[in-house]
């Protein structure tokens, strides 16, 4: 993990190369995080990739309900030779949940991006195959959102099967 000073140096370099991209930096429990503006996240990730953080170890979605902007996408980058991790974080509002896709940079982002789309409804622009992955394709809603009700699944019987959305014989 870069120390607080190292994180600031990286953030400074990112600010110089991509004006307006870096919104905030955070050093918490030994983990370095850079908050980035959603439209420029691809360029920032390319720069970090050139700096050695060339392994995308994880990509996860977060719902910050009731805070705004609600949806968040985290990219956990790893530098294997220096054994160093950095997290890049973007936040997008619910009415414009668009984040550029990084599948062409890391093909391994394919399934994780589909999962975040499935669970949170974040649309990854440029993703080659953005379909639901864990939920059925005709499922309505994004179940990992914090305001998605639990226990609301109807049980299908013969008498009500026609009334269940998406269900057909």
């Amino acid at each position: 993990m870069p120390d607080p000073t190292g994180l600031e140096l990286i953030a400074q370099e990112l600010r110089e190369r991509h004006p307006g991209a870096v919104l905030d930096t955070l050093h918490f429990r030994g983990e370095a995080t850079v908050a980035v503006e959603a439209r420029q996240v691809r360029e920032v990730l390319v720069t970090l990739r050139e700096k050695g953080y060339d392994f995308l170890s994880s990509l996860h979605g977060v719902d910050y309900y009731p805070e705004e902007p609600r949806l968040g996408v985290h990219y956990q980058l790893l530098d294997m030779s220096a054994v160093d991790r950095i997290c890049v974080k973007v936040r997008v509002p619910l009415d414009d949940p668009h984040v550029p896709s990084v599948v062409d940079l890391w093909p391994g982002a394919n399934h994780p991006e589909r999962e975040v789309y499935d669970m949170f409804g974040v649309v990854f622009d440029g993703h080659p195959d953005l379909r639901r992955i864990l939920m059925p394709e005709d499922y309505e809603g994004h179940p990992q959102r914090r305001d998605f009700p639990i226990g609301g699944e109807p049980v299908i019987f013969t008498y009500n099967e026609d009334k269940i959305p998406g269900w057909s014989r």
Binding site: E31, D63, H74, W106, G108, R131, D138
Partner: protein, 415 residues
């Protein structure tokens, strides 16, 4: 239903294929798209693969997953932190100690509590036993796919011995709920250490016997050598970690690279392959069984005295005997069992090395007693993306071996 395509057909047609025939298609040739799974003995779970075949040769593979999605991450958000542990254990059902470890280390990171040395060692012992158990299930089931049923019986005999050890230390054979935030639930019972030593002694000779059965078996070698080769760069871009990456010669192992839970105290080697074919994948996992035995022996040898869980009563349950005499202990117990403990707000990511690669747990806390988000970076989920890279332009029969060596656990893939 109205005319036109049914919903089902529409969904099926939204899946795109990139396969193209190589060369001229004869009059009697065509690309054939078939399903492998979801119920197929060699997919090791409910995995559906849509294969595009040109004769016997695979031209494209699309994995379709989600059949055993149970919403564990959503369930975890409804439970207090210590009640999440049994839920996340059920994700990757062959490496439950690792799931619990990833979650507990993330919460411990947020709470900034120190795990006692004895608890760290006990965790290492259980995780390495779990790694052996997971590799035994992988080897046994893989050999069934390759037609060698005998190996399966032998592997499951040893697996049974590991499960007996788990039962002795925690009362459960699987999903033991042994790891707690701050340590482990109970100290090991008397005589357990001796039984574990006896197990590692026999395990080494048994592993020798598996190798004797397989390494000179002409059929096995022909199906494993030079099949399913994927180069290192492709694997890294796909995010693949664990034995699959090490089989290409990349010595990336989080136990060495970024030691957690006192792994820096033990001497062990990281087995690597050379070519990255199925045989290397088998050899790497097989060699890891020996290394795990070594780690267990060292941990038992150097097992420090001391508490098995953090003395912080705000996080860990007080010992049972105190409840009858101490009012304070009773209050702590009541508070923990009803509300659970509160965790300072923040976001952390805790990666560990599971038998299948980097298992990371992301936890976001909003300051309450329930996590606001739990996400597992499950290695099976990410590693499954290499099916197309490993299976394209190979024979369908070879792909059965390749899929067995990728070792996906569908409980972890779908969560």
């Amino acid at each position: 239903m109205s005319t036109g395509l049914s919903d089902y057909r529409r969904q099926e047609q939204s899946i795109t294929y990139t396969a193209e025939a190589t060369g001229e298609m004869g009059l009697e040739q065509e690309l054939l798209t078939i399903n492998m799974g979801p119920h197929h003995p060699s997919t090791h779970g409910v995995l559906r693969l849509i294969l595009t075949l040109e004769g016997e040769v695979i031209r494209d593979i699309k994995p379709v997953i989600g059949y055993v999605h149970t919403g564990i991450e959503k369930t975890a958000e409804q439970k207090s932190y210590w009640k999440v542990i049994p839920v996340v254990e059920r994700m990757d059902y062959l490496s439950y100690y690792f799931n619990a470890m990833a979650f507990c280390s993330a919460v411990e990171k947020l709470l900034e509590i120190e795990v006692p040395k004895r608890a760290q060692y006990l965790r290492v012992i259980h995780m390495e036993l779990n790694r052996i158990m997971s590799h035994l299930v992988w080897l046994g089931t893989s050999c069934i796919d390759l037609g060698a049923i005998g190996v399966w019986w032998y592997c499951f005999r040893e697996r049974e011995a590991v499960l007996d050890l788990f039962e002795m230390s925690s009362g459960q054979r699987m999903h033991t709920r042994y790891f707690q935030v701050g340590g482990v639930i109970e100290d090991i019972p008397a005589g357990w250490a001796e039984r574990v030593r006896r197990f590692t002694r026999t395990m080494r000779t048994r592993a020798d016997q598996y190798a004797a059965l397989l390494d000179r078996n002409e059929i096995f070698l022909q199906r494993m050598r030079h099949t399913g080769v994927v180069d290192q760069r492709t694997l890294l871009d796909l995010g693949v970690t664990g034995p699959l990456l090490r089989a290409t010669g990349h010595p990336w192992d989080l136990r060495k690279a970024a030691p957690y839970s006192s792994y820096e105290d033990f001497r062990f080697k990281i087995p690597v392959g050379t070519e990255g074919d199925n045989y290397d994948r088998y050899r790497v996992r097989h060699a890891e069984i020996y290394e795990s035995c070594d780690i267990i022996d060292q941990a038992l040898e150097g097992l420090p005295e001391g508490p098995h869980i953090t003395p912080d009563r705000k996080v860990a349950l007080p010992p049972r005997h105190e409840l009858a005499t101490s009012m304070e202990a009773l209050i702590h117990h009541f508070k923990l069992v009803t509300e659970g403990f509160r965790v300072p707000p923040g976001e952390v990511y805790a990666p560990i090395e599971s038998p299948r690669g980097e298992l990371g747990c992301f936890v976001r806390s909003d300051g309450s007693a329930k996590p606001a988000r739990v996400h597992m970076r499950d290695p099976s989920f990410v590693n499954l993306q290499m099916t197309a890279a490993a299976g394209r332009d190979t024979y369908l029969a070879d792909f059965v071996a390749t899929l067995a060596m990728i070792d996906p656990v569908l409980g972890g893939v779908d969560r």
